[in-house]
Amino acid sequence: MESTVNHVKSEHVAKLHSKKHTARVTKIVTYALLVLLSVVFLFPFIWMVFAALKPENEIMAFPPSVFPKVWDFKNFGEVFKLIEFATFYKNTVFVTVLGVIGTVCSSTLVAYGFARLEAKGKNVWFVLLLATMMLPTQVTMIPVYLIYSNLNLVNTFVPLVLGSYFGNAYYIFLMRQFFLTIPRELEESAYLDGAGVFGIFWHIMVPLSRPSIITVTLLSFMGFWNDFMTPLIYLNDTSKYTLALGIMQLKGSLNVTWGPLMAASLMVIVPVIIVFFIGQKYFIEGIATTGSTGK
């Protein structure tokens, strides 16, 4: 009798022991994988930074060395001499600021309409809004180009920015989801106190939805800053180029100056990274919200 109890006990202990053991192995494997993958994901970055610091002959050497033998900051200065980098930077900031303002203002207004105001046919409009998210931009790209072309607006910043003032389906949806989480009581009582629809929107909803406004600001900042295709289609003069288009000039079809090219790319990436670190929380939440909208 006693021995069976002991036997069961020891078996139980062994089981617990092996369980603890597997748990530890799992932990170690998890960390090992995470560290390994981090190295893989970081490596291209490190490569870029070091390439930007290497003189040209060292970049083209084989086998390449990871660390620069000579730390050379000349490439960064070189960028400004080889191309009109400062102009591209100024243009990109200009387009991005105007675009973000347009996106945030229009998307917030429209989202509020869809979240809180009622009208016959509202659902139809909402389905149409969602449907536009599936529409490939290529379908409307050519006629829209012809519209701007007829208005003599090709080779200006207008086509890059104007569309944002008419809302962006993706951000409208994101904001609407956010508005729906705000309790209605506040608005109801403000309404009873005699506030109008615009007053409620401006004095109650906008202050309350700061997090989602920040999220849309950050996400649309990325969109405008990184956009390549729209400037490629619309901008002809080098003096109008944005960064995405401008730095391509360092990659001629025959002659590539790798050091300055990597230095320039790095200078394009830095604001994005800074913005990410400032608004990390909003980023992660914003992306996650759009994902769970599969519902």
């Binding site: 993958l37 084989f62 390449p64 105001l117 009622e118 009208a119 290529q138 809302g167 990184n226 390549f228």
Partner: protein
């Protein structure tokens, strides 16, 4: 709020989108459809040619090549991206220390402007002095000319796209964090192994985010442009092996000024995306778990 003027306010608030919807979406869509039946070079008048553009498409080897390239890129790239993104999220969800640090490391590459990341990878894949070949050589593996090779350019582009898998990871992570702990405890009591739990609890409970990423991933993949354009110098790469659908469309519209033909290309793409999306909703969609609110 529920006053009788509410409908007026609704339309007032959504008016920016509504106006834009007609000017920048409905109007251009109809015009683009009309243009696809014409021969239009961007200036002058369009001549109606009926189905000629669509017929020409069927006999255009470059159209088929571009479609094929895009399909191959999508069929391999999208599932791989889903798996890598999911794996990253799964690892991060294991209550690890430094979770935020790891998350940032995996996520940031997906934020890098496509132009900058493409240029970086062009350097990495340089045949004579790129680090990719140098790593292969270190392990005594055969090297490749990568972006200059007809067979390797698409795998290289897929590797490039995997560097951005962290974007999907964030969405998976949010889904994983919502799986109730009780389900794992119950599975544990039933003696289910970790692997078994992964397939019977984790995957089904996060099927809605997987499905979302699948749909968005496919739509995005069909429209690959910037990386392909930069890698191929605006051309199609070695023997057009990196000529992707939208690159070919862009060339037709803005390099050859065959706007009618390009519009036909756009509509074919639209129909393909629509069909693929509907199939997914029909085939995959019914297996997706949605939390009942």
């Amino acid at each position: 709020m529920r006053g009788k003027n509410s409908a007026k306010y609704f339309y007032l608030f959504i008016s920016p989108w509504l106006i834009g919807f007609f000017i920048f979406t409905v109007g251009p869509m109809l015009y683009s459809l009309y243009m696809s039946f014409t021969n239009y070079n961007g200036i002058g008048t369009a001549t109606f040619v009926g189905l000629d553009n669509y017929k020409a498409l069927m006999h255009d080897p470059l159209f088929w090549k571009a479609l094929w390239n895009t399909l191959i890129y999508t069929v391999f790239g999208v599932p791989l991206g889903l798996i890598v993104g999911y794996l990253l999220a799964y690892l991060l969800n294991a209550k690890v220390h430094f979770m935020k640090l790891f998350r940032t490391i995996f996520y940031i590459p997906s934020l890098v402007p496509a132009v900058a990341s493409s240029l970086l990878w062009v350097l990495i894949f340089q045949p004579d002095f790129g680090i990719a070949n140098s790593i292969l050589e270190f392990f005594h593996l055969p090297t490749s000319t990568w972006l200059l090779s007809e067979t390797m350019v698409k795998p290289a582009l897929i590797i490039m796209s995997l560097w951005g898998a962290g974007g999907g990871m964030i969405i998976y992570l949010a889904g994983l964090q919502q799986v109730p702990e009780a389900l794992y405890e119950a599975a544990e009591l039933d003696g289910a192994s970790k692997l078994r739990q992964f397939f019977t609890v984790t995957i089904p409970m996060t099927s809605n985010v997987i499905f979302f990423n699948l749909i968005m991933g496919l739509i995005g993949s069909f429209q690959i442009f910037t990386t392909a354009y930069i890698v191929g110098n605006g051309q199609g790469g070695p023997n057009n092996s990196a000529l992707f659908y939208v690159v070919y469309l862009y060339q037709n519209a803005f390099s050859f000024f065959k706007m009618g033909y390009a519009s036909a290309l756009a509509w074919v793409l639209f129909v393909i995306i629509l069909i693929v999306t509907l199939i997914q909703f029909k085939v995959v969609g019914k297996h997706v778990y949605y939390e009942v609110d």
